[in-house]
């Protein structure tokens, strides 16, 4: 029983790390109806920028603020160069644009900062501590707290502020939003900036765990099953989906692994997502789409 609890809690906490990445996707999907392929690249870009600035002698807080500023600047540039020419175009065009953006960002990050794997130490001890006999990772708890905070802030922002409402409106219908005088450009800049900030946080946490390296942009693919489980349009869904994916992949590894030959952690979430698609394609918290025939 104790072992089960340990696996479960470990899984849930590592799931929070997936949630953090998924959150970035949800933000942009909510505001533009587009799956942002470049989110992974943004995570890599943000983490690399932070580490490299620190390497060059900036103090930690200076590096953090500078990377944040760079991510915000990046959001403005993306809005200006990539998104603005695509107003009123079908969502698929925007999707293609974000794929292109992925390559640009990955190239830019490694071109400017180099492609060597860099270590990142946030100064949070990664030693497990004992809660009534169950070992819990301190680092994971820290990550969970940060994710929880981000989610609460973003959820409130989307639900209760005018800009949040405008974001949801723009996601639903560009043309109608424009006719109401909602400034599409501002809305997009805000949301990409928020996604950039979330990417920075995710990049730092993932980077300190795995080292800042190219693989970061691939790990973010784990966010896909999270989104399918939680729903593409729900911030809360990103969290619950992350927890589900984290817990189930660890439990599956431990209990099904020996039977199936081990290493199933890597593909189990995708199978889970596939099964979920059959039963509830909009995800746990997603908006249900009813199309009139």
């Amino acid at each position: 029983m104790q072992f089960f609890l340990e696996v479960l809690i470990g899984g849930l906490l590592s799931g929070v790390m997936y949630s953090l990445v998924a959150l970035g996707f949800v933000l942009i999907f909510k505001a533009s109806g587009v799956f942002n392929f470049a989110q992974g690249a943004m995570v890599l870009f943000a983490a690399l920028t932070f580490v490299s600035l620190e390497e060059r002698g900036l103090p930690r807080w200076g590096a953090l603020l500078a990377s944040l500023a760079i991510m915000l600047g990046l959001a403005l540039v993306i809005e200006r160069v990539v998104l603005r020419p695509l107003v009123n175009q079908p969502a698929i065009s925007l999707l293609m644009a974000t794929i292109g953006l992925t390559f640009c960002l990955e190239g830019l990050a490694q071109g400017v900062w180099g492609s060597v794997v860099k270590g990142l130490d946030l100064g949070i001890p990664d030693v497990p501590f004992d809660v009534k006999g169950v070992l819990v990772s301190q680092f994971d708890l820290f990550a969970a707290a940060i994710a929880g905070f981000l989610v609460a802030v973003l959820a409130l922002f989307f639900q209760y502020t005018r800009v949040g409402r405008a974001l949801r409106a723009v996601a639903d219908d560009h043309q109608a939003a424009l006719s109401l005088g909602i400034p599409l450009q501002t809305v997009w800049a805000v949301v990409w900036a928020a996604a950039g900030a979330v990417a920075l946080v995710a990049g730092l946490l993932w980077g300190s765990r795995l080292g800042v390296q190219f693989a970061l942009s691939v790990i973010t693919l784990k966010a896909l099953p999270v989104l399918i489980l939680g729903g593409f349009t729900s911030i809360a869904g990103a969290i619950v989906g992350g927890l589900l994916v984290g817990a189930s992949e660890k439990l599956a590894e431990v209990y099904l692994g020996p039977v199936l030959g081990g290493g199933i952690e890597n593909w189990f979430p995708y199978v889970l997502a596939l099964l979920f698609l059959l039963v509830r394609p909009e995800g746990l918290f997603g908006e249900k789409h009813i199309d009139r025939v």
Binding site: R165, A169, D172, A176, S179, L180, H289
Partner: protein
């Protein structure tokens, strides 16, 4: 028939010599007309006559290739939809363009977006002025919800509402901006008789109570003749008539283009006349 009210004021919207082409297709050719303050003006014409294009030009979605538009005394060649919205032009769409995942209330609140000014930071903190502003606008929106009798669905996501109600919510969202000019693109398309009557009543009430100038595209001739103070008729992108419903109804060109479906005997008579 008609509403012979002594109510219209100054010219609010003047479209002069507007042309619009998409590639080689001329959607509009040298169209001019005026809408006066508090007037209920209908644009009619067969499918493809350029009615929606005309609305899209007034609202800034399309830029005319020639001609000018003056609204509230300001003349311009083109403007953006945002400028139009801030200037007091609101609209509804032919195919409902509501925010389907959002509640009725939130949909209507977005209509007031252009009227809200609190900064992003204040909103994020939901603090002081931002909160007060939100409350004030909410009050106004509740009045509109009352006015259009959609209290019972205010929290429902609009995607789940029946078609007739969705059209009503779209009207409410447009009204939320307190527009001076309201553009309605086929507000009654696809409705049953009862829904149409309701919508007619609402449109007249809006016109009467708020003094909103309304530019309306509609196919149902009975409705148009009943509602409109003035009717503009388009055919193949040209204006072929402009006047009171009575005048337009008697205009032979209009009858030929739109109203009358000539019988076999009519066609022979026309052919003889032409030959």
């Amino acid at each position: 028939m008609g509403h012979p009210r002594q109510k219209v004021g100054e010219v609010l919207l003047e479209v002069s010599g507007v042309s619009l082409s998409f590639g080689g297709v001329k959607a509009l050719h040298q169209v001019s007309f005026q809408a006066r303050e508090r007037e209920l003006c209908a644009i009619i014409g067969p499918n493809g006559a350029g009615k929606s294009s005309l609305l899209n030009i007034v609202n800034g979605v399309y830029q005319p290739s020639a001609g000018t538009i003056s609204f509230a005394g300001v003349q311009r060649k083109s403007m953006s939809p945002r400028e139009a919205a801030l200037g007091g032009i609101a609209r509804t769409f032919q195919n409902i363009a509501l925010f389907k995942g959002m509640s009725v209330l939130d949909n209507i609140m977005t209509g007031r977006d252009a009227k809200m000014h609190s900064s992003l930071l204040a909103q994020a903190l939901y603090w002081g002025p931002a909160q007060r502003e939100e409350m004030e606008h909410r009050c106004h929106v509740e009045k509109l919800i009352d006015f259009l009798q959609i209290e019972h669905v205010r929290k429902t996501p609009v995607g789940r509402l029946p078609y007739g109600l969705q059209k009503r919510v779209e009207l409410a969202r447009a009204l939320a901006a307190e527009p001076r000019l309201l553009l309605l693109d086929e507000p009654m398309a696809g409705m049953n008789v009862e829904e149409k009557q309701d919508m007619c009543r609402f449109i007249l009430d809006v016109n009467d109570e708020f003094g909103t100038t309304i530019l309306l595209i509609e196919h149902d001739m009975a409705v148009v003749m009943d509602l409109a103070d003035r009717v503009v008729v388009l055919d193949y992108g040209r204006k072929i008539a402009d006047g009171t419903p009575e005048e337009v109804r008697r205009n032979p060109e209009v009858i030929a283009a739109y109203l009358g479906v000539p019988t076999e005997a009519d066609r022979e008579a026309v052919a003889e006349g032409a030959g």
